[in-house]
Structure formats: C-alpha cells, structure tokens
C-alpha cells in the first residue's frame, strides 16, 4: 500500500504527517519526494546511508561528424539548442532529455552523456527504510530525482521483502489491521499542485491531504483536492494546527464527503518538538495513538 501526503500550501504539515505515519508503522519505506526541501531525513535521522547520483541525459555533439545541417536545432521544441561558431551547443537548464536531437541527426553526430542533477540518500531507521530525493541547488527540475526516488524505493522494498520472506512485525501495524505481508510506502510530496506533485502521487493508493485551517491553507487545499480528484485517487483529510474549526474548510469537507481522518491541535509543545527535529509519535502517547488510528482508518478505507 502506498500512501502519499500532500497539502498544496507549504508548511501545512506534510512532512510531519508523513514522517510520523512512517514512524508509527515502524516498517516499510518512507520516500521523500519533496526534493527541493528534503526534510524528512532531519527527523528520521537514517543510519547506514548510501548515496546514489541522479543524472539527466544531455546531448553531446561530435564536431568531426557534424555537417551543420541544424536539423537538431530546428527539431528542439524547448529551444535548448543553438548553433554557434559552426556547432550546436546545449543549454542544459532547458533540455528535457527527450533524445529528439539524436534521433533527427542524419550524421549520427549526437550522443548522450549523463549530467548529475541530484542524489538519493538511502538509509534505515530500525525496520523503516528511508529514501530521500535531493535536488542539487541551481537545478530547475526535480522530476528526474522524484522518479528515481520512487523507483529505488519500490525496488529496495521489494528486494528486502523477498529476502526476508516477510516483513518484521510491528505493533502499530497489526493494531491497524494491515496485512503483515503487505509492503507499506509513505510518500512525502512537494508543495503545490504542478508536475512534480503529479509525478509523486501517480502510483499512490491513498492520498492524505494535510490542511491548515486558514484562508491560505484552504485555498491551496482545494487545489490539491482538485488534483487528486482528477487522478481518481482515494483520499482523506488531516487538519493540522487547529485552534478553532475553520468553517469554510469544514463545510467543504462535508459537501465533498471528504472524511476528516484526524485533527492535530495547535500545541506549542508540538511546535517545539518539530523545531528540534523530533519524531512526535515518540514524544507523546496520545499522538502515537492518533497516528496509529490514522493508519488503521486508511487500511479500512482501502
């Protein structure tokens, strides 16, 4: 089962929800797809971390073979190629690595070489695997890093699961009534509702929409709700930092028949734990029960 946490607005509590859900489960895989601000690792503090470089393919031009026909430059719809001083040059920031230039070159003068755009950190916290996608500063698109994080997350999950025969047992999960043999993946998504979010939730079985009960939070919440509805995903709401119920959000959930799975009160203790990078289910029994209950409800919904 794959559960994605998303919110639209930044700072609503996606990472908090994803990290604590994964920690409450105590096994499976946590994948951080918020590659521009990968913060789950600051809370989960994974051990035995290994790194994998993530690259995009960039075209290279063999000056000896290039006859200057400019077919590649004309083909590129992203304006990533320019013909300067009798050879094509590539602007890596706008290249989409579609391979079109290589395809259209009549002289086979175009080849590809990988260009690093980010990395993955793969580690463990007890029985929980932690996969973090990290975009290099200065790079424009996190999508290749997100794709690789999801692929590797699935791969190591599958491999370790097969090797061990079954997943190690864990209290919260059996309480949640989930099959012990079922692989659990929690995906921490980027903010917003653009292509990188789409990429992150594409394969999710369930989406947790983390909502902040303010006018800003509600506006962006409706945008991600629209996105998951468009994709036909099952979803539920977690309202975070609630002091007073925010009526427009409450009535929207009622009208759309969106289940509110949990309410996390505004609590200055929680704020301070999070500021220090603590996993809050390990700080407070009530919070642990809340997240265990959340897992159980999602298990039930699915």
């Amino acid at each position: 089962m794959k559960i994605a946490c998303l919110s639209g607005k930044g700072g609503a509590g996606k990472t908090m929800a994803a990290v604590n859900l994964a920690a409450a489960a105590g096994r499976g895989t946590y994948i951080d797809c918020d590659v521009e601000e990968p913060n789950g690792r600051l809370f989960l503090k994974p051990e035995n971390v290994r790194e994998i470089t993530v690259s995009s393919m960039l075209p290279e031009f063999d000056a000896k073979k290039c006859t200057g026909c400019k077919k590649c430059v004309e083909f590129c719809r992203f304006h990533a190629l320019m013909y300067v001083k009798e050879k094509p040059i590539v602007f890596s920031e706008v290249c989409h690595s579609c391979g079109g230039c290589m395809l259209v070159c009549p002289e086979r003068a175009v080849s590809e070489k990988p260009k690093p755009v980010g990395k993955l950190e793969i580690g463990t916290r007890g029985n929980l695997r932690v996969v973090t996608g990290i975009l290099s500063p200065g790079e424009a698109s996190g999508v290749p890093v997100i794709r690789e994080a999801l692929t590797q997350g699935e791969r190591i999950g599958q491999r370790e699961w097969e090797a061990s025969g079954k997943e190690p047992s864990c209290g919260a999960l059996s309480e949640a009534g989930l099959e012990q043999e079922e692989e659990l993946t929690v995906i921490d998504c980027p903010p917003g509702s653009a292509c990188s979010v789409m990429e992150s939730v594409m394969d999710a079985d369930f989406c947790i929409l983390v909502a902040e009960p303010t006018a800003f939070g509600f506006h962006n919440f409706r945008m991600v709700h629209q996105l998951v509805t468009l994709l036909g995903k099952k979803c539920g709401v977690v309202i975070n930092k609630q002091e007073e119920p925010y009526e427009p959000l409450e009535s929207f959930c009622r009208e759309q028949k969106l289940p509110v799975l949990a309410r996390i009160p505004y609590d200055s203790r929680i704020g301070q734990w999070i500021a220090r990078g603590e996993v809050i289910v390990e700080q407070d029994e009530q919070i642990r029960a809340l997240f265990a209950g959340l897992l159980k409800q999602i298990g039930g919904v699915l």
């Binding site: 607005k9 930044g10 521009e36 601000e37 500063p137 653009a194 002091e243 500021a275 990078g277």
Partner: protein, 288 residues
C-alpha cells in the same frame, strides 16, 4: 522602482503575510504573486475592479489521430516520458506525462500524431489603483518558470511611477524560484527557526548565490525556538547576509488572513516587528 522579491525555501514560513504587510506599509502600487503553484496573495490584496485575463500557453501536447494510427507502437518505444499508454488496443497520450517534445510525431510512420498548444494556466492582471499581477497554473502542469516570468514581466510593464514593487515568490529552490530571482534588487528570505527551516534556508542561499542575487534574512515565529533563531543569525553573519529582524509568533496573523486583510491593518506585536523589518529592508534597497 526597486524590486523586492520575498522567498522562504521552506513553505508556510510567512512569505505572503510579509509581502502583503510590506505593500500596505509602502502604500505600494506594484505587486506580483509568483507562487503560481499555490497563489494566495490575491486573498489579502483587496484588488479593485475586474482583472484582464489571458490564457497561459505552456508546452505543446501530443494527440494521436485514431483513424490514421495503425497501432505499430513505435511512438511508445521512443517516448522518454512514459506518456504513451496502450489500452483496449489503442495508443493514447497521457496529457500529464507528455512534455511536448515531438519525438512521437517524428517517428510515426503514418503522421498520425499532432502537437497542439496546451493552455497550462491563467494570468490575471489588475490595473485599477496600481498594478497587481497574478496567475494560476493548471493542475499537474509544468513550465511554471515560464509562467513566473510572464507574471513578473506583466507587472513590470504596467507598473506606475512608484518606489517599490513587491513580488511574492514560491517555496523551494526549483524552476519557479530561479525564474523569479532574475532582475530583483533584493531577495528577502523569511526563515523559520526549525531544523527544516534552517536546512531549507541554506539550500535557498546556495541557489540564490548561483544566480548572484542580493539577499537579506528575517526570522518569523522566532520565539518558537530562540536557539534556532540564534543559529540562523550566526549563519547570516558567516555568510555575510544582512539580518533584517525577527517576528514573534502571533495568533493575530492567521486571524488577519482569515478575515482577508493584511497583518499591517492590525495593531499587534507581529505588525510592529514587520514594520521594523520593512524599515531595514527599505534601507537595504536604498529607499528613504
């Protein structure tokens, strides 16, 4: 006219609240919301009149003409974005995955694939009482950097003779942020005193430095963690980045937002702190 961009790295630290308050303090006549993924500034700007609305044309999207398609699957083999799916014996384009590169159309032996312009969002330009430029990207679309540039340029093009333009940016460090940074006189980073906030601040500084942006930093909700606030202060000192001040946690902030007004309209500790930060920011911009 000086151009001030407000960024944060981490989301939800108070960019929009700061931008709206600054517009109020400056009696500003030029603003743009470059957070096209999750725009919010319009909720507190009290813009007047009706906006001029234009479509944002993003990249192209491929379309397969089922009449001409012979089902050879060559397009699917060549697509690098897994955007071509086969269901019920027919090949179809997944519009969310398609990046509009045109490779499928090139390899198709029957010329069955066309590339159509895709409406990827909507731009709104308010021109009564100064200029306010905003936009919304359609669900799941890319090209947000291009839309950010459009929003910013529309504001600059129509800006009246005014001292300060305020631009509300996106969280993160990716294409919308990179697109917003160019041409700015100062980037004010609203940081949050948490482990996440510090990590994101450092990544943002690294990114902004790549593009040679001039920076200043302030800390919101500083009293949630005075230790982390100190850590941010020392980081700024080491990096030689002007520190513009701190804002206390104040319940009035979300109350103001929920009423659709700027924090500047209230009398509360956060407003006083923002006034002080606005003063220092103005000095850094060389305004009186």
């Amino acid at each position: 006219m000086k151009r001030l961009l407000i960024l944060s790295g981490k989301g939800g630290t108070g960019k929009t609240t700061t931008a709206a308050a600054f517009m109020h303090f400056a009696n500003g006549k030029a603003a743009a919301d470059c957070d096209v993924d999750a725009p919010n500034l319009h909720l507190v700007m009290k813009q007047k009149g009706e906006p001029v609305i234009t479509e944002f044309l993003g990249g192209d999207k491929a379309v397969i003409d089922q009449e001409s398609c012979i089902g050879c699957g060559i397009c699917k083999e060549h697509c690098r974005f897994d955007a071509i799916e086969r269901s019920e014996g027919q090949y179809r384009i997944n519009e969310y995955s398609c990046e509009g590169c045109g490779v499928c159309a090139y390899v198709c032996p029957r010329q069955a694939i066309a590339l159509n312009t895709d409406v990827a969002g909507r731009k709104e330009l308010y021109l009564e009482d100064g200029v306010f430029s905003t936009a919304a990207l359609k669900m799941g679309r890319g090209n947000s950097g291009k839309l950010v540039t459009d929003v910013k340029m529309a504001m600059l093009k129509h800006a009246p003779d005014t001292a300060l333009a305020v631009i509300d940016g996106s969280p993160g460090i990716g294409c919308p942020v990179i697109a917003s940074v160019s041409g700015m006189d100062l980037v004010l980073v609203v940081a949050e005193p948490s482990f996440s906030g510090i990590s994101d601040l450092k990544r943002l500084v690294k990114t902004a430095r790549t593009f040679e942006a001039k920076l200043a930093v302030c800390v919101n909700k500083w009293d949630v963690s005075p230790e982390n606030t100190d850590a941010i202060r020392s980081f700024c000192k080491e990096e030689d980045i002007p520190f513009a001040g701190v804002i206390p946690y104040d319940k009035s902030a979300s109350e103001a937002v929920n009423k659709g007004c700027s924090l500047a309209e209230l009398d509360c500790p956060a407003t006083d702190a923002l006034k002080e930060i606005f003063k220092i920011t103005s000095e850094l911009l060389g305004l009186d």
